[in-house]
């Protein structure tokens, strides 16, 4: 698995990718606030702006649509609850449009800004060091652990004929935690060896 399997297109070279990360983060939050506070005429403008940004960033359209559709079930599932009240249909459409625009904004941010740049912004905002370290390590080792879990599952599938059962998956998760702990010990030693304060 590739290290950037979550934000595959974040390291592009388009004009959007080259904008400062802090500005993009602030802009994205501003857009989300605007969408949440306003009604549909404004949303058309926001949608136009987002589509323009998406075109300029040269992130593949198929990828963006796939990511967007990935979250639609969650949005719809929660929005459906709002139907059981007077004016429910209107509320439902409002919720779905709002959430979709916000999700689209965040997908664009994540795929035009490398995570390390965002972390740098977070660090400059004086977020406690331990929190920044945790975020950095999470990003650095996530794909390693996902790979490790996949290897364990492949090894099991190669040796048994049965379908995956809960106990087997729980064993994979338990083992994964044990291995994460051991890896953390090695990482600590390596960090100290390189002069971590």
């Amino acid at each position: 698995m590739r290290a950037d399997f979550l934000d595959r297109h974040s390291r592009g070279t388009s004009p959007i990718h080259q904008l400062p990360a802090g500005g993009k983060l602030a802009g994205a939050v501003l857009i989300v606030v605007t969408v949440v506070l306003t009604q549909w005429p404004v949303w058309l403008g926001v949608a136009g702006l987002l589509i323009g940004v998406a075109a300029l960033s040269r992130v593949p359209v198929g990828f963006l649509v796939k990511r967007l559709l990935w979250f639609e079930p969650v949005v719809l599932g929660m929005a459906i609850l709002s139907l059981w009240q007077p004016g429910g249909v209107e509320k439902f459409t409002t919720l779905v449009c709002r959430s979709t625009l916000c999700v689209f904004t965040m997908i664009l941010l994540a795929n035009t800004t490398p995570f390390s740049r965002l972390l740098h912004v977070v660090q400059q905002l004086r977020v406690p060091a331990i929190f920044v370290t945790t975020l950095a390590l999470l990003y650095r080792y996530l794909f390693v652990l996902v790979d490790e879990a996949e290897r364990m599952q492949r090894a099991r599938q190669a040796r048994t004929y049965r379908r995956t059962r809960w106990t087997v998956l729980a064993t994979v998760i338990g083992q994964l935690f044990v291995r994460s702990t051991e890896r953390a010990e090695r990482i600590y030693a390596a960090m100290c060896a390189r002069g971590w304060k």
């Binding site: 929660m78 652990l145 953390a184």
Partner: protein, 308 residues
């Protein structure tokens, strides 16, 4: 359970964010003071572990699948304060890298999953685990706590949606609680199974030093109480009993008695209608708690053959 943007109004999002920030502040202080330096990388690796574990799908009947949430599991493995930081990191990365859960709803999501679910689950775990320190009781307590944490977070989430005016309480409470009583069964089962696996492979990882400090207990307890008071109490209070009591104290109860034209068979607790769904869910939740405790005890008995 990640709430997307647009579902919460300003006051609810702000109140949740303040509570989440309070919880984070207490957790950061605790970790800063008590976490040994060599365990700092473990926080990051545990966060990666929770994220990776959430990507493993468990088969559920009918071709659907569910996955681990991991709040209570993390609290049991690392202690509550470290777990607050670990789960918050997971939520932050999911929000900014994956667009899973809204930016303005981030505070609410942190409050639900990193604070309510994690801390209430941990409280239940310590309460049940306090009886005996066998491996079997650890598994029982973890499985039961996994269910309780998930259901409590769902009740709070229903309160947030209702307070925002997005979904009425009479729909949100039965729907969210009902669904999460089922999801919680899966969560409790996985939590119990994973704890049993770790107890077999590396039992030393489960013996974490009990912090005999009262400050975090007070701080976290206050946050949970505030959260329940803000998000759940406004909807739980207008229940008939409370109203009747007010009517009785104010002395106009006789007016209510004079009104009915037809004597109803069960005047106070009639079942049909929407309001009854709320009461039914509350009753189901209370009964469910006992059933789940029994199930957790059976699970622990099956997984851990002899009391060690």
């Amino acid at each position: 359970m990640h709430i997307p943007d647009g579902f919460l109004d300003g006051k609810t999002a702000a109140a949740s964010a303040v509570l989440a920030a309070g919880g984070l502040a207490v957790a950061l202080r605790q970790v800063h003071r008590h976490l040994p330096r060599e365990r700092v990388p473990l926080l990051g690796l545990s966060a990666a572990f929770v994220f990776a574990a959430q990507m493993l799908n468990f088969p559920v009947a009918g071709g659907t699948s569910g996955h681990l949430i991991g709040s209570v599991l993390t609290a049991v493995l690392l202690g509550p304060s470290a777990a607050v930081i670990v789960i918050t990191s997971v939520l932050v990365v999911q929000c900014f890298l994956f667009a899973d859960g809204g930016v303005l709803a981030l505070g609410a999501n942190i409050f639900l999953m990193a604070i309510v679910s994690n801390l209430s689950g941990y409280a239940v775990y310590r309460l049940v685990h306090g009886w005996s320190h066998s491996v079997r009781s650890t598994v029982l307590a973890a499985a039961f706590a996994g269910w309780c944490g998930t259901v409590l977070a769902a009740i709070c989430c229903a309160g947030q949606l209702a307070l925002s005016g997005t979904v009425p309480w009479t729909t949100a409470f039965p729907a969210m609680t009902g669904v999460h009583m089922l999801i919680g069964l899966g969560e409790g089962l996985i939590t119990g199974l994973v704890i049993a696996v770790i107890a077999r492979a590396r039992p030393d990882l489960l013996d974490q030093p009990a912090a005999g400090n009262l400050t975090p207990v007070l701080g976290y307890g206050l946050l949970l109480a505030l959260g329940l008071a803000i998000f759940v109490a406004p909807f739980a209070s207008p229940w008939p009993d409370g109203l009747e009591k007010v009517a009785a104290t104010l002395g106009f109860e006789h007016r209510a008695v004079a009104e009915p034209v037809l004597p109803a068979p069960l005047p106070d607790y009639e079942m049909p209608g929407i309001q009854s769904a709320v009461a039914a869910t509350a009753v189901a939740g209370a009964v469910g708690t006992f059933i789940v405790f029994g199930l957790a005890a059976i699970l622990a008995r099956v997984l851990v053959p002899k009391s060690r």
